[in-house]
Amino acid sequence: MIIKTTDLVKRFGDTLAVDHVNLGITQGEIFGLLGPNGAGKTTTINMLVGLTSPDAGEVAIFGKKANGHNNEVRRNVGIVPQELAIYEDLTARENVTFFARLYGLKGEQLQTQVSQALEFTGLADREKQFPKKFSGGMKRRLNIACAIAHQPKLIIMDEPTVGIDPQSRNHILDSVRLLNKQGATVLYTSHYMEEVEELCSRVAIMDQGRIIAQGTKEELKALVAEEERIVIELSAVNYTLVDELKAVGGVNEATIAENTVTLLATKNTVSIGRVVDVINATGSDVLSLNVEKPTLESVFLTLTGKKLRD
């Protein structure tokens, strides 16, 4: 286990920010911590890295209890904070060098690895510029460069793609994959379901301080995905249609709204051809038909009764 937490608890006044959180992150994976704003993701990370002291529970990183100041552990962790933590009045290269030095790099190795980090985040040709002049995406990438120059074994990223253009976002997601391929274990926090779905092998879903589900993506989907949704757009609606569709084998529920029919069906049991035949028999045409597989979004929806993003 690279990270293991046992019943972590943190309160801020009346707010129970983190409520008995148990996480286990193994070597070499990209682990996603998914949850809406205010779920307690940042607070959890702050306890992992010693910025916040837990009210109860334990943290172990690299198998060592992380209480107090352990340079050996810290040297091998890179943190990308949610809020930009770079100096506007130091150049991109100086920013990366500053943090790399704090992580103990020096001499030739310092220069090489700083250059690599800048290269890696696509900032090499702007390394002499001040972040003042950077776009939001470039600042985010610099924020990441400062966390990776010392080549940590564990990289913790707290919503590294918030509020940036799609191009920078893709660049960042590619970088995360590459860092992982080069051997780093990644804890990736986000409230974007798509990112976590795309990037991570295992996921924990967090809401109101609690981990409500944890496992591989498939395991999580299996939790809710006994059913699939079939959404059909029709040219015209006949009100006997609902009952006729319910009679089709595998269909558990059918609803109509305007000229769209939504079926809830047991997974992989419904014959789509049969459904279309029934519709055609009522004199209506199928304009579009969509079989929706479960997503992490629907997992979240099912487990919490609300959407991930409002």
Partner: protein, 381 residues
């Protein structure tokens, strides 16, 4: 050590880069103020403030220059400032000085006229009470104007005498905390010191902004996750800010000394040491404030207000004379401690007073940093 140096180096780099507005505020602004207050307002600011000072006068010389001197003291202008009490002997004058009946004792020695007319150095002995340094400055200003003033000078030269050199003799009085002062600060000398000290107080703003970004807020948090100990981070930041403000002090002192001839005295190392202590104190104050309120903007505005008040009660903008016990409030002003120590050093005041001021500053430094550390620990995390 390497970690402290890294924090120190990059903080200093950022402070130095942050030119433009900061240099304007921290260096150009005080220099301009020294110039304006020292010249434009210099001639007028004392008289309405000070009122009449009682002085004792011992005349042992019967010669003509002493007559001129008495005529000079009896002049209308002088009468507004000085009330001259004839005293028979030095001993009697010193007793009056001790009893605070007079604030200064002026003596003309037996051979005063003789020596002036021979073109030799002619001491006018001035003994002042350290409790009234500003009145002493006024008196010494007046005496200097006697020597250098047009009428006197003309009279003396018409008598075939070269302009006499003005030297105060250093008469030491046994076991009394009464001392003779050396030269007299002109307005520009005065403002050179007070404006420099005021700038140092504003230097506390380096601490409020530096500490909040690099210690408390996002970047500070990030630094805390690296293998750097909080103490190293703290020390590196404080050292860089101290050095930044101290560098500005040196620029102001050098510029005002070379261009405006502001008198920084003979004991430059001691003056620099006092300035350095003041810088550390100001940084301590800024650090304490930001740790207490945990908010850069509020800390900065509190610091600015404190600086204005502290400069005011120390007489930084214009000399203030707070009578009686209320005068003790001046000791709460860091400016006052530093100014008094510097004036005392430059104008050869009693050394023990300098030591008291330095000790008070050291105490204040320990208190501010102590409170800052306690406040930081208590901040919720």
């Amino acid at each position: 050590m390497r970690q402290i140096f890294t924090i120190f180096y990059y903080t200093l780099l950022r402070n130095l880069r942050d030119t433009g507005e900061t240099v304007l505020q921290m260096v150009v602004f005080p220099i301009v103020l020294i110039f304006i207050l020292g010249n434009a307002l210099g001639g007028t600011f004392e008289q309405p403030q000070i009122g009449v000072s009682e002085i004792g006068y011992v005349r042992l010389d019967q010669g003509p220059v002493a007559d001129y001197f008495e005529e000079f003291l009896a002049g209308d202008e002088i009468a507004k400032l000085l009330n001259v009490n004839q005293v028979d002997s030095r001993q009697q004058g010193l007793e009056m000085l001790e009893d605070r009946e007079i604030v200064a004792l002026v003596e003309l020695g037996e051979d005063f006229s003789q020596r002036v007319m021979e073109g030799k150095t002619s001491p006018i002995l001035v003994t002042t009470h350290p409790a009234s340094p500003f009145r002493a400055m006024v008196i010494e200003n007046i005496l200097e104007s006697f020597i250098q003033g047009g009428n006197t000078l003309q009279a003396l030269t018409s008598m075939g005498v070269e302009q006499p050199e003005f030297v105060f003799a250093g008469g030491i009085i046994e076991d009394k905390s009464i001392s003779t002062t050396g030269l007299t600060p002109r307005a520009i000398d005065y403002y050179g010191v007070t404006m420099m000290v005021m700038m140092v107080m504003y230097g506390a703003l380096y601490a409020t902004s530096g500490m909040s970004s690099s210690y408390l807020a996002t970047i500070g948090q990030r630094i805390k996750t690296t293998p750097v100990r909080a103490a190293q981070q703290y020390i590196g930041l404080v050292l860089a800010n101290v050095l930044t403000v101290f560098g500005q002090v040196v620029v102001i002192m050098a510029f005002s000394g070379l261009v405006f001839q502001v008198n920084w005295g003979d004991n430059l190392p001691l003056v620099l040491l006092i300035a350095l202590l003041m810088v550390v104190l100001a940084i301590g104050l800024g650090t304490m404030m930001v740790m207490l309120v945990q908010d850069e903007r509020r800390a900065s505005s509190i610091i600015s207000t404190i600086t204005v008040i502290s400069t005011f009660i120390a007489g930084g903008y214009f000399r203030v004379n707070i009578p009686g016990v209320a005068g003790l409030i001046q000791y709460l002003s860091p400016n006052y401690l530093a100014q008094t120590a510097i004036f005392n050093t430059v104008y050869s005041g009693p050394p023990q007073q300098t030591i008291i001021m330095i000790a008070a500053m050291l105490g204040a430094i320990i208190i501010t940093f102590g409170i800052a550390m306690v406040a930081e620990r208590r901040a919720i995390r």
